[in-house]
Every structure is written in structure tokens, then in C-alpha cells.
């Protein structure tokens, strides 16, 4: 039996129990502990089917010991419906870092952060407009090169996805940080060719609220936000960051980063050290090249901030700052 800790309560995992008596026994053992008093209990029930009467007795037992039954997680429909009947909240207890809701936050907060980022990356944000739509390339072409999940519902989908990943990979290896051809680099960072409409889109992420988080993200943790995300710390392999807007990592990015997850292909990923397993911007995916021996995390003294952008349907990485 596992116990985990959540805010003002704790998780009791009895998901491996197959009998009601076993659940009651294990639960009572935990509830009797002195540190459990006056807290919320989050019960993980797994696939166990619990009818309303049984759940009522569990609830009564928890309450008789001076605690509150907070939430219940379960994969069984019977259990979930009986929880609904008794008015107990159901939730999936995942390894997700809790994030604040953004409803009441004004976009003005964001401007300060942008100014702060100016200082971090040594560049004027208003002029870091890093991508432009190539005039010659029709827009449809860009869309066709992207991975759009909904389209892949047939059997041949797997091969097609592999193909797209392969293409994305080629793009990544082609533009290895040192070997970005100057003409491409210029066109990635040049905004003069953009139409007014595209310039608006470019600024779309600036309007979003930003989640600021100061910690190291470890394997298995995932961070999701409706806005932009700024992480002060490393993002280790095995963790993932998913944001509707931009992602900025003040440290080593080693996990998976997905910017513009609702389809905003103008979103960007920035990090002091880029070593991600996968980079995703909107519907496009690029993966780390299969170089024989890439260190787990490249610990290094020299940090050169880099930025990943989408350009002509592919993901490119370029340096934000050069000595």
C-alpha cells in the first residue's frame, strides 16, 4: 500500500485490493495513525467496483475517525457513479504539478515578465521576431507537412506519422546549432516579410498569462498551462512541459517541450541549454538525432541560450545570443 501527500490531505492507494474487507482493513490502518487527524483523504480505488452502500460505509468510517473523504479516483464506472450519487468529488490523481488558474490575472503582469526576459536573453523582445512566412511557399504546403493528429485515424497512419517524424528529424539534424546556414538564420529571424496579420499572430503569445515556476522538473512530472511557462531550473529527461504559449527554460531542457499545443505554430521554446528528447510546436514534432552517445544531461559551464521556432513547417533551433 502506498501513501502519497497532497495539499491539506493525503492519498491512500488501495487500488490493488480486490475485496471490500481488504480496503476497509488497509484504510483503517492508515486512518489510525496520529498524523492523519483532521485531514482530507484521497482514495485511489483502481478497478474495484464499489456500490453506493459500500461507499457510504467507507465514508462513514472515515468521518467517524474525524477525517473527510476528499476525492476518489477509480477506473471503474460503477465506483465513479456511486461516488457521484453520494456527492463525493472524483478526480484522477496524477503526477501533475498543480498550477494556478489564470482567470483573474491581467495581461499587464506579462509585460513585466517580458522586460525581465529581455534582460535574461540580452535582446529587445520587440525585435526578437524570429520567423517569417516565406512569400514563395504557399501556406497549404506548411499545413500538409505538419502532423495533425485527427487525420491519422486509418491503418496506414503509423507509417505516415513515422515519415513525418523522420522529416522532422532531418530538419533537426540539418540545422545543427553550429551549422545553420546564414541565409536561413537571417530568414528565420527576419520579420520584414511578414504581413500585418502574421505580425499579430506573432504577438499572440504575449497576450497570454504566464506561469512562473522555480524548481527542477524531474522524470515523470508534467507541467501543463493555458498560457506561457517559465521554468527557473532544469527540465530533466522523462518530464514534459505542455503550454498553449511559449516555453522558456532558465536551465537545461532535457525532457519533452510542447509549445503552442492548441495549434499556435508561432509559439517558441527557449532554453539556456537545448537537449530535448522531443520538441513539439503546434502539430509538428522534431526529435533528438540518434547520435550514438548523447549524455543523459549535458552538464556544462557554457550556456548559450537557444530558441526553437517553426519555419516552413519544420522546427529550427538557433542561437539567441552569440559571443
Amino acid at each position: 500500500m502506498e501513501k502519497g501527500y497532497v495539499e491539506n490531505g493525503f492519498i491512500v492507494d488501495v487500488s490493488h485490493s480486490a475485496r471490500m474487507s481488504q480496503i476497509i482493513y488497509e484504510l483503517s490502518a492508515v486512518l489510525e495513525m496520529p498524523e492523519a487527524k483532521e485531514k482530507d483523504v484521497f482514495l485511489k480505488l483502481g478497478s474495484f467496483e464499489m456500490n453506493p452502500t459500500q461507499m457510504l460505509s467507507v465514508k462513514a468510517m472515515v468521518e467517524s475517525m474525524g477525517l473527510k473523504l476528499g476525492k476518489i479516483s477509480s477506473t471503474s464506472k460503477v465506483t465513479l457513479s456511486s461516488a457521484n450519487e453520494l456527492g463525493i468529488e472524483t478526480a484522477e490523481l496524477e503526477n501533475v504539478i498543480p498550477t494556478i488558474a489564470f482567470d483573474n490575472i491581467q495581461p499587464e503582469v506579462n509585460k513585466e515578465l517580458k522586460v525581465a526576459l529581455d534582460k535574461i536573453f540580452g535582446d529587445d523582445i520587440s525585435t526578437i521576431s524570429n520567423i517569417h512566412e516565406d512569400i514563395d511557399a504557399p501556406k497549404e504546403e506548411r499545413v500538409s507537412q505538419s502532423v495533425i493528429e485527427d487525420e491519422y485515424s486509418d491503418a496506414a497512419a503509423h507509417d505516415e506519422i513515422n515519415k513525418v517524424i523522420e522529416e522532422a528529424n532531418n530538419a533537426r539534424t540539418e540545422v545543427d546549432i553550429d551549422s545553420v546556414a546564414p541565409e536561413i538564420k537571417d530568414s528565420i529571424t527576419d520579420t520584414n516579410y511578414l504581413t500585418e496579420e502574421e505580425k499579430e499572430k506573432l504577438k499572440e503569445t504575449e497576450q497570454l498569462p504566464t506561469l512562473y515556476i522555480q524548481r527542477t522538473l524531474r522524470s515523470g512530472q508534467s507541467l501543463k498551462s493555458e498560457g506561457n511557462i517559465v521554468v527557473i531550473g532544469d527540465v530533466n529527461p522523462g518530464s514534459e512541459i505542455i503550454a498553449k504559449g511559449d516555453i522558456t527554460v532558465w536551465g537545461i531542457l532535457g525532457g519533452i517541450a510542447h509549445a503552442g499545443c492548441d495549434g499556435n505554430s508561432w509559439a517558441k521554446v527557449r532554453a539556456l541549454k537545448m537537449n530535448p528528447i522531443q520538441l513539439r510546436i503546434a502539430d509538428t514534432l522534431a526529435r533528438r538525432p540518434d547520435t550514438a552517445n548523447i549524455p543523459y544531461i549535458q552538464k556544462t559551464d557554457t550556456f548559450i541560450p537557444e530558441e526553437a521556432v517553426m519555419y516552413r513547417g519544420q522546427i529550427y533551433i538557433h542561437k539567441l545570443y552569440e559571443n
Binding site: D13, S15, H16, K44, G46, S47, S73, T75, E94, N95, V96, E149, Y152, S153, A155, A157, H158, I161, N162, I165, S219, G220, Q221, S222, P237, G238, S239, E240, I277, Q278, L285, R287, R288, D290, A292, N293
Partner: protein, 272 residues
């Protein structure tokens, strides 16, 4: 076509379940069989790293179960061998995200298209183990010649025998060090087999090459010179029903040993 579903399990952690899985899978694929490996270690996945496929994973087994993608979309093809596929575990979820029935269903679907389905089991005997065993009809119990690993293997064999679905199980002895056995510092192969009274399918010698192969993301069976690689190749042959003798690990490779062997062969000739 109805594929064989083999679960690779051990009870104790760190005895080489995942390494065994990656190597046997690669070996079977090299022998021309269609193989899919399922990582059921949700939250602590490693099989993708050993195969060097970490950067190719888009969908995981949890996405399949929660119907965010088709089963075929979630199968990651190996870099070298098109016969080999991986169904990866989710790293950001825990063991309760998949149930026994769901795993059984996935195994049944895969049986139609593959010769072998190798299920990588997490350590322990909790939900993760129950899930992994659910769809399997055969098992390979991995153990090392240490008391703690053997006791856990014994527990696992007991649990496997209680399952009706498991028709047969074999023992794989990993990290064997012939030098230590010789000096009576390690249990011998026979002792382990005696304690567990299970049929042996392979003896894998301790090999430092395993560490480099894990870091490179390339199974050691691809290295034909390596003793551990040969041993894993032999295990694959035995799974296919071939009668392959166990490798002679006792051979003394030191200069003194070679000289002894040379002289004893001379003596042998004279006696004839």
C-alpha cells in the same frame, strides 16, 4: 497467426528484466520473427532507453487504452530491425492507468500480427505485476545468484503457478560470475536450479559491455563478439525450440589457465 505472449518478470528490481527483454526481443527479431515488446512499467519506463527509441515515442500504452490513438500508431519501429516494435509505457502516469482486462485485450489484438509479444514487467508483486501477467501464457523468471533475488524469484514462481493462464515458465540466470563460483563466493548454477526447481532457459555471464550498450541504447546481442550477447542469442534459439548447449563459462582465459590447458592436452595425447 497467433503469437506467443511471454512475460519477463523477477520480483526483485535490478536483476536485468528490461535488459533481458530488449536482448531477447532483438535476438528473436534477428532470427526473422515479428516481435513486439510491451513496457508495462508505467511511471518508471526504461525499455525505450535500452533500445535507443526514447526520442521516437509519440503515443504510449495509456494513449491506446484511453483511445487517444490507434494501437498501430503507438507501435514504435526499431531503428535497425523492421521486425521489432515497441509499445512504450507512459512516464507521467502510474500503474493504475491500465487495468488487467485492457492489457489482455491489447495482447490479444497484437497476437494476430506478431509471432512474439514480450511483456516487460515492473518490479514487485502489486498491480503492475498483475497487469503484466494478465495477457501472458508463458513466463521467463529472471534471477541472479544472490539469496535476495532467489527468494523473490521463488515468490514469483509461486504466484505464476497459481495463475491458470500461465502454461509454462522458465528460469533465466543473469549476471553469473564464473570466477566467483569457482572460489565458492557465489552460488553455482546447479544450486540455484535446485532451490527453485525450475527449468533453465539461459545463463548470462556478467558483462561490462551491458553498461555501455545500455548507455548507447543498443542491445548487446548486436555485438556478436560479446559473451553475454551470444548467451542471449542462445536463449532466443531455445525459445524457438532449438536444442542449444549452454555456453561454457568456466573456461579459464588467463595465461596460466591457457598453459595448463595446453599441457594437459599434451599429457592427454601421450596417454593415448
Amino acid at each position: 497467426m497467433s503469437g506467443r505472449v511471454i512475460v519477463i518478470t523477477s520480483g526483485k528490481g535490478g536483476v536485468g528484466k528490461t535488459t533481458t527483454n530488449a536482448n531477447i526481443g532483438t535476438a528473436l527479431a534477428k532470427k526473422g520473427k515479428k516481435v513486439v515488446m510491451i513496457d508495462t512499467d508505467l511511471g518508471l519506463r526504461n525499455l525505450d532507453l535500452l533500445l535507443g527509441l526514447e526520442n521516437r515515442i509519440v503515443y504510449t500504452i495509456v494513449d491506446v487504452v484511453e483511445e487517444r490513438c490507434k494501437l498501430k500508431q503507438a507501435l514504435v519501429k526499431d531503428k535497425k530491425n523492421p521486425n521489432l516494435c515497441l509499445l512504450a509505457a507512459a512516464q507521467t502516469r502510474d500503474k493504475t492507468a491500465v487495468t488487467e482486462e485492457q492489457l489482455k485485450e491489447i495482447c490479444e489484438k497484437l497476437q494476430k500480427d506478431f509471432d512474439f509479444i514480450l511483456v516487460d514487467c515492473p518490479a514487485g508483486i502489486e498491480q503492475g505485476f498483475q497487469n503484466a501477467v494478465a495477457g501472458a501464457s508463458e513466463a521467463i523468471v529472471v534471477t541472479t545468484p544472490e539469496m535476495s533475488a532467489i527468494r523473490d524469484a521463488d515468490r514469483i514462481i509461486g504466484l505464476l503457478e497459481a495463475k491458470e493462464e500461465i502454461k509454462q515458465y522458465h528460469l533465466l540466470l543473469n549476471r553469473v560470475r564464473p570466477n566467483l563460483i569457482k572460489s565458492n563466493d557465489m552460488m553455482s548454477v546447479d544450486e540455484v536450479v535446485d532451490i527453485l526447481s525450475a527449468e533453465l532457459i539461459g545463463i548470462i555471464p556478467e558483462d561490462t559491455g551491458i553498461i555501455t550498450s545500455t548507455n548507447k541504447g543498443e542491445p548487446i546481442v548486436n555485438d556478436e563478439k560479446s559473451l553475454a550477447g551470444q548467451a542471449y542469442m542462445n536463449v532466443a534459439s531455445r525459445i524457438l525450440g532449438e536444442d542449444v548447449p549452454f555456453l561454457n563459462l568456466e573456461e579459464d582465459t588467463s595465461i596460466m589457465g591457457k598453459m595448463k590447458k595446453f599441457f594437459s592436452s599434451l599429457v592427454g595425447k601421450e596417454q593415448k
